[in-house]
């Protein structure tokens, strides 16, 4: 038991060392998502359906997305509410099984994650949730909250766990004595640091961050984003960062994927996406960011709203809002294609239509 623990520790040290050696994003993808989909059956109850002769209704929250994340890299997913970005986050940590498609982590399919044999795999990926008020058990002390993943994944003794909890709290900018306090005694930003400490407790390689700073004030958001970047540099972490805030995404991401109604419409390196956005929806989102510099500038308000995902438009789902839509867009759904080094799903971009 004791030797086992030492081995374990040594192993994780080795992992840490090897990760620190490769601070530059590597080429080999750590995460590969291939045509993954998650559909939800939201039909009315059976009897009602039979009486009213209604068909089943299926909500295609995520409908065939493919992307990969390299080691040490931050991929950000942006999109408006209901575009499926949080569903992808949950699929990646195994909270939602896939309807079809596959996700592999370091070469292993994520479906291996269930049960006891998946324990080692589960330890390597952790999640940070949006609402630090809902994701911490109000009746547990902070020390117990942070130590919980260690109970599940390591054989550390109580003293060692305490020591690690103290180290983690220091790492996220809190004080070791904070472990005897309850979550309600902390502010929103401090709670989000506790969530980060908990996620880091078992030395994961990959963190899925679902809107980690959306509930925070800007000055506190800056503190949390800085900590996340420092930790990434120090521990060689890989992030999937989900946000609706493009300015935050610009700050943290290496690559950015833009989602619309359950599909990715464009993936590109950060600088390419922000300087030369291709997909009309990406342009819309960028144009909608309030600008601190150009005061009084009139934004091009784009008409329309996100359509009901239960009844998505035909063809390209963006066509009712797209200023460049043609007949082809209504009939035929575009597929992701490589175009000038980025990936984009748009007939117009690929065929070189005049889109001003």
């Amino acid at each position: 038991m004791n030797a086992d623990r030492v081995d374990n520790e040594r192993a994780s040290d080795a992992v840490l060392a090897s990760r620190q050696a490769t601070l530059v994003p590597e080429q080999r993808p750590l995460i590969e998502v291939n045509n993954a989909a998650r559909w939800f059956d939201v039909s009315s109850p059976w009897l009602e359906r039979v009486i009213a002769r209604k068909p089943r209704t299926v909500l295609r929250a995520v409908d065939g997305v493919s992307f990969s994340i390299r080691k040490g890299e931050t991929l950000a997913l942006v999109g408006e509410s209901g575009c499926g970005k949080s569903t992808i986050a949950r699929m990646l940590v195994g909270l939602y099984p896939l309807t079809h498609g596959s996700i592999t982590f370091d070469g292993q399919p994520l479906s291996n994650m269930q049960g006891r044999k998946g324990l080692a795999l589960r330890k390597r990926l952790q999640m940070i949730f949006q609402d630090p008020y809902a994701s911490l058990n109000p009746r547990w002390r902070v020390g117990r909250i942070i130590a919980e993943p260690m109970l599940a994944h390591t054989q550390l003794s109580e003293a060692e766990r305490d020591e690690r909890v103290s180290a983690l709290l220091t790492q996220v900018g809190l004080h070791p004595t904070d472990q005897s306090r309850y979550p309600h005694q902390f502010s929103g930003g401090q709670r989000q640091r506790i969530s980060i400490a908990r996620a880091l407790a078992v030395n994961p390689e990959f963190l899925v961050c679902d809107e980690p700073t959306s509930a925070l004030d800007v000055s506190v958001q800056a503190q949390v984003l800085n900590i996340m970047k420092d930790l990434q540099r120090r521990l060689g972490l890989t992030y999937l960062f989900i946000s609706h805030n493009l300015a935050v995404v610009h700050h943290v991401a290496d690559r950015v994927g833009v989602m619309y109604l359950g599909r990715i419409v464009e993936i590109a390196d950060r600088d390419a996406l922000f300087t030369t956005p291709q997909h009309p929806y990406t342009r819309l989102l960028l144009a909608a960011i309030p600008d601190l510099t150009g005061q009084g500038k009139s934004r091009t308000p784009v008409a329309g709203e996100v359509p009901n995902p239960l009844n998505p438009p035909s063809g390209c789902t963006f066509h009712p809002r797209c200023p460049h839509a043609r007949e082809q867009c209504k009939a035929e759904a575009p597929v992701m294609q490589n175009f000038k080094g980025i990936q984009v799903a748009c007939h117009g971009v690929v065929q070189g239509w005049e889109m001003g």
């Binding site: 000055s219 984003l225 610009h250 700050h251 934004r299």
Partner: protein, 357 residues
Amino acid sequence: MSNNMNNQGLSNRTDDVTAAANATDRVATNDPTNVLEVKNLSVEFTTRHGTLKALNEVSFSIAAGEVVGVVGESGAGKSLTGAAIIGLLEPPGRISGGEILLAGRRIDQLPDDQMRKIRGREIGAIFQDPLTSLNPLYTVGHQITETIVTHLPLTWSQGRNRAIELLEATGIPAARERIDHYPHQFSGGMRQRVVIALALAAEPKLIVADEPTTALDVSIQAQIIELLKKLCREQGAAVMLITHDMGVIAETADRVVVMYAGRIAEVGKVRDVIHAPRHPYTVGLMGSIPSIHQHVERLVQIDGTMPRLNAIPQGCAFNPRCVKVMDRCKLERPELHTLGSSQVACWLHTEVEKNER
């Protein structure tokens, strides 16, 4: 400018500062063009553990047709200022000092029934969550018409026609049919349009908009801001725009009030406050906003958090987090001083000015 400086020595009281201020930077005065004047407003909460001062001598004004943004982090007192103006402070909160004047008339001491006539007629309110500001049991048409008929000398059918016009003006498609729909049948963005129509129904002089776009997606947010700007300009209404989003302020407001721990830290023209912030808190706040135009490895961060109401430090409330803190900041509270076209409550700038003279 030099005029301001000369008067600096006279007194710190806002009234005197105003006398020197030029026309563009209005503070609380009896200027008849000011729709709203807030003078030394303080709000207290009496609790079992003593009295908490949530707003501490807040003074600012809004002219007709002007949009004034109020920014600050959660707990800075910006929504509380709005609630005090509308007369909707929740007990045990109460106005403990100062005055609120609407078009020169004091409204902070009015009895409830008179205040109710002012709300809706002279002050329109827009809140963050459009679903909670609409009654789910009535159609949107009923709610807007009711507001119109209550405040304006119109019959129900005239009011209804006006409601349809308002809904059309806010960009709701097929307003004639949509008017008989219930709030739950609208999407978030459309609901906020209904709330705006409701706020503007009786052509109020002042609109208090408390985080009107926070609950909306970015693309919808842009639409709503444009709409709010356009309609207020058309009606010539003064707007108090409360938000934590500096980007929204930058695009919408003429002037901005920066609040911290229940006090005003800085007031000025939006361009000045964004490009040349004076108060260290504003500097930190601006630096902590990520930008898509430049990439920085680390954001400027303000260490620590805003103090709780029961532990506001002596002197300047920002002193424990301030990077430029001086001994004086820990003892004496700085008042708002005129500095160019802005006003700043910070000892740093009064010191600088003294040295310059």
